[in-house]
Amino acid sequence: MSDFTNPVEPFLRTDRMPHIWCPGCGIGTTVNCFARALIESKIDLESLALVSGIGCTGRVAGYVKLDSFHTTHGRAIPFATGLKLANPKLNVVVYSGDGDLSAIGGNHLIHAARRNIDLKVICVNNLIYAMTGGQTAPTTPSHAITSTSPYGTCEPAFNLPHLVEAAGAVYVARWTTFHVRQLARSIAEAFNKKGFSFIEVISPCPTLYQRRNKLGDGLDTMKYYKEKSKVKHGAPTSEVGLTMTGEIIVGKFVDRDRPDYQTMVRAQLTESLGDRFVEQAEMVCS
């Protein structure tokens, strides 16, 4: 029966396995969903580029057998934007952590959404800066204990779906690592959207977030996701903020259309230059 293989296997650099992620970490689960989405969407892998920033999630770029780039901290979106503008035929995926995308990379996130750059952003939100020891992130829920807030976080957290919708994203969804089939479907759906798509995946970091907050291990967290998640497609994103132990609203929140950045560039130049506007020469993916 050796012709049966794990569906994720062809997308992995198996020589790098086992990976560094801790037992019960959710990042690997998101990679399974991503692989299933690639299979389902029948996307041409030659046209695909995956870009990560720095962090535990950022390691995805090093584990996938795809054209991938592990950029500097916070700069996955600008690097991906450059790829997409230089070679518009590429399907560019940004795969990174909540800290990378919304703290050090926060401005890139909102401006890429505002410009509607055609990127598929998968944000693994473990509510913390995991790789560096569990510091408070902009996504850490109020009262949570972290290495930089031993008496509890006093800051209000970013509600990422609300943030990116307000900034202009055309597709916004949230799932947890419990919702594997829904997550795979959302990723596949985002491949069919033109414009800035953002998928948040709430994911356990048992080692640094759950442990300090006495929330159990990875499996306990998965059971919490199962019990406390509520699917509300089209929910107003202003109402989907997260708390430490409360309800998690999941679903597809935003699915709308507006011209993406390159369409706007072309329209503006055609309007201003008329016949003098010449389309950029086509590039070959190689």
């Binding site: 049966f4 994720v8 990976h19 037992p23 990679v31 690592t177 594997v180 795979a184």
Partner: protein, 94 residues
């Protein structure tokens, strides 16, 4: 594959028909990988494969190739078998 398992228990907990249990055997890193306890209940749905953060398990459906039983494709599970497990007709990836 068995060596990749870190015994998180996701596959055991979320298998819809409770096919799996963590075994008492160890892999070389000292984790207890799952083994198949109810092979006849496996539908090959591959939920265990989607959950496994360590890419250490997956399910699949086995086609019989016979038209009259096309809807009754038998399901097998390719899980890890720790030493001392019962042989249950389950595939071993090695």
């Amino acid at each position: 594959m068995v060596e990749r398992c870190k015994a998180c228990g996701f596959c055991v907990e979320f298998c819809p028909t409770k096919v799996l249990a963590l075994s008492s055997a160890f892999n070389s890193k000292g984790y207890h990988p799952p083994h198949v306890v109810n092979p006849e209940k496996c539908s090959g749905c591959d939920l265990c494969g989607m959950y496994c953060p360590d890419f250490a398990i997956y399910g699949y459906k086995l086609e019989t190739g016979q038209a009259h039983v096309a809807t009754a494709a038998s399901a097998v599970h390719r899980a890890q078998r720790g030493p001392g497990n019962q042989s249950t007709g389950v595939e071993d990836e090695g």
